[in-house]
């Protein structure tokens, strides 16, 4: 075992559980979460700036794991071609700014994949995690205004999508 490998193992012991918890929450599948943990951690090794403070690492993990898991869900959905096998969430849209409700969780997941990664992350953070906007802004490294704008856009388009689907 080289010193570099030991360093990798130490970092994995420190941050692997954080990535795994996040992946498991979003994917609801231990096997998929395990794969996601491995991939996100390897990305972390490649991309994280050196000497990064743990709080910044945590925010990076939150962003990157969310994005990765959204991709996994999208790819899983494509492969399976069956919407009912797409991971579903405990959506709580009562916390959205205009008090809208979507109702159909599966449809919500299908809607989500139509958006860019940042919007996906904002929607998941607010609607799934129930995070306040300022906390989402800190975790995603965007402004609070951006969080509100992207969430409003997501809800507007999701509503239109639902109307079209219903008709």
């Amino acid at each position: 075992v080289t010193p570099e490998q030991r360093r990798v193992v130490e970092l994995y012991d420190q941050y692997g559980p954080v990535i795994y918890r996040r992946s498991l929450k979003l994917l609801r599948d231990p096997g998929l979460a395990q794969d996601a943990t491995q991939e996100v951690f390897l990305t972390l090794l490649k991309e994280m700036p050196r000497e990064t403070h743990p709080r910044s690492v945590l925010a990076w993990i939150f962003r990157t794991t969310t994005r990765h898991c959204m991709n996994v869900i999208r790819e899983t959905g494509r492969r399976q071609r069956r919407e009912d096998q797409v991971a579903t969430y405990d959506w709580d849209l009562s916390v959205s700014p205009d008090q809208e409700t979507l109702g159909d969780r599966r449809l919500a997941a299908a809607v989500l994949e139509r958006f860019d990664p940042t919007t996906q992350a904002v929607a998941v953070a607010v609607l799934v995690d129930g995070m306040p906007h300022d906390e989402v802004a800190r975790a995603l490294d965007v402004s609070r205004k951006t969080v509100g704008r992207k969430l409003a856009r997501f809800l507007d388009r999701a509503r239109k999508h639902l109307v079209r689907s219903a008709t």
């Binding site: 570099e4 420190q14 929450k25 050196r50």
Partner: protein, 256 residues
């Protein structure tokens, strides 16, 4: 904070229990339960995910070394460690005997002409209610304190930390989920730590660093054949472990 924090804030509170979320968690049974669930998932990671993925991680990890390595931040411990809380220092193998702290820290040796092997250094820190402090042999600490460790080893070896309580039971403290943890030669702050059981009484820690991982059963036998609950308050003899083992021990008194 009147409402329960998000998962993200809870993760932040694990980094800094003096955060707003950390203060909320300290008084919220629901959040305490959520933290318990997070701990269960961490244990699952250690028992299942890590063993299944570590080889692939090491095989695919970037091979080019960054210009500067990651700095492992243990902010709350850093200032404390500057106090050089070196507690017990012992030399390898059968010649296990205490070495003056100054020697361990690189100070003048009494026999500079014949350099002795670098010693094994164990530093223990206890954290409780947001306060972290170094622990000396025989110190009383809160029974439910969290322990963190720093070790200095003369060479690469496999580290295990276990304890004997005053009822004669041996507990494996570190690392979680594996018999031993590979440490490089030199000083290292150990990731994670150990949480004491909250039961007041004496507890003797044993840190051993062996040339190859030692089985938990072997270490338990070595501890129980060397020390008994009635003798644990006195200086403990070296454990009978393979040649090349470096070891250290420390008595804790867990207070109410």
């Amino acid at each position: 904070m009147t409402t329960c924090p998000s998962d993200f804030a809870l993760e932040e509170s694990l980094l800094d229990d003096d955060s707003e979320a950390g203060r909320h968690v300290a008084t919220c049974p629901l959040c305490a339960q959520r933290l318990g669930e997070m701990e269960v998932q961490r244990q699952h990671f250690r028992r299942v995910v890590r063993p299944h993925t570590i080889d692939a991680i090491l095989a695919r990890a970037p091979t080019t070394r960054p210009a500067a390595s990651w700095k492992v931040w243990m902010a709350s411990l850093a200032s404390v460690s500057a106090l050089a809380a070196v507690l017990i220092v012992m030399t390898p193998g059968a010649e296990t005997r205490p070495v003056p702290t100054e020697h361990a820290k690189g100070g003048p040796s009494s026999q500079p002409a014949s350099p002795a092997p670098s010693p094994f250094v164990l530093s223990v820190f206890a954290g409780s209610h947001g306060v972290v402090h170094p622990v000396a042999d025989g110190d009383e600490i809160p029974a439910g304190a969290e322990l963190r460790f720093r070790v200095g080893t003369p060479h690469a070896c496999w580290l295990t930390i276990a304890s004997l309580d005053d009822k004669g039971a041996v507990s494996h403290l570190y690392p979680a989920g594996a018999p031993a943890f590979s440490v490089p030669g030199g000083n290292a702050e150990l990731q994670g730590g150990a949480l004491l059981d909250g039961v007041p009484g004496a507890e003797r820690l044993f840190a051993v660093c062996t040339p190859a991982p030692v089985a938990p059963e072997e270490l338990s036998r070595a501890i129980q054949s060397s020390v008994t609950p009635s003798s644990m308050a006195h200086a403990a003899p070296p454990l009978a472990l393979p040649d090349g083992t470096v070891q250290s021990t420390l008595l804790l008194r867990k207070g109410p």
